[in-house]
Amino acid sequence: MTVVEVGYELPEKEFSITRETLIRYAGASGDFNVIHWNQRVATEVGLPDVIAHGMLTMGLAIQVVTEWIDDPSRLVGYGCRFTRPIVVPDDESGASLRVSGSVTAVDDGVATITLKAICDDVTVLGKATAQVRIG
């Protein structure tokens, strides 16, 4: 890794989330909550449409960090708040998630990276931070 200091910006990543993404993630994670794949039920409970699993968004966003640190064992903490759901329309392009990250603290060999996860100009993860061991 390069010299890590506060303000350092990690390479951004963009993810496409389609209905297929949701079905694959449901199967792989074991989270079969119907609001993530059934439009009828989603709208019945007051959602505009099917929404992505919060844990899918969280799992995508951390790739900005894991690709940067290279060694997975450097990651010591990762957390976020699920502030806004990502609505996934039934079309080819689905929803688009853009994730950026920057170093916001360096303390005792551990860098804190604050992630921004944005879909349709709306922040979907709140207080998303990862702690990585550096050096």
């Binding site: 993404t21 994670s29 969280m58 799992g59 790739q63 997975p72 064992s73 990651l75 708040r81 699920f82």
Partner: protein, 152 residues
């Protein structure tokens, strides 16, 4: 209906051991579009010092959510699970989960509070190998929306 505050601090017996399967790790990585070979290619993982495929960081939710769900279904707790959404999630890692790990998960109810008519339940799931080596701790806040206005 307010949640039963007697549950704060309660720790449940460890879950049955969960054997982390190589193909499950690969499937989870594919579902997230992970391209890092450490999660996809056994030789690449071994070259980087791991005994097998390394699970992506959020894989731990498979264990912690299953264990926590069993707990929150306890009728004495008073949580209406049909209204529950995942509000907040945090992982603290000692090391990554690796295929071949045999893991047990111990759930503790860390906190219960009510905010603006929503019940909030904080659970902590300690995930360790069957030999007792700590791997990751998962903290989840589950929110049951608006149960005050609905009689249970």
């Amino acid at each position: 209906m307010a949640l039963n505050a007697d549950f704060i601090g309660r720790t449940y017996p460890p879950s049955e051991p969960y054997l982390v399967g190589r193909e499950k790790v690969r499937e989870f990585a594919h579902a997230l579009g992970v391209t890092d070979l450490v999660s996809l290619d056994v030789d690449a993982a071994r070259e980087r010092g791991y005994s097998d495929l390394v699970a992506p960081p959020t894989y731990a939710i498979r264990l912690s959510m299953a264990a926590a769900e069993a707990v929150v279904m306890d009728p004495d707790l008073g949580l209406d699970y049909t209204r529950v959404v995942h509000g907040d999630q945090r992982f603290e890692y000692s090391r990554p989960i690796v295929a071949g790990d045999e893991l047990v998960c111990t759930v503790t109810i860390d906190g219960i509070r009510s905010v603006a008519g929503n019940d909030m339940l904080t659970t902590r799931a300690d995930i360790a190998t069957t030999d007792g080596e700590h791997v990751v701790t998962s903290y989840s806040i589950l929110v049951a929306r608006g149960t005050d206005s609905e009689s249970a």
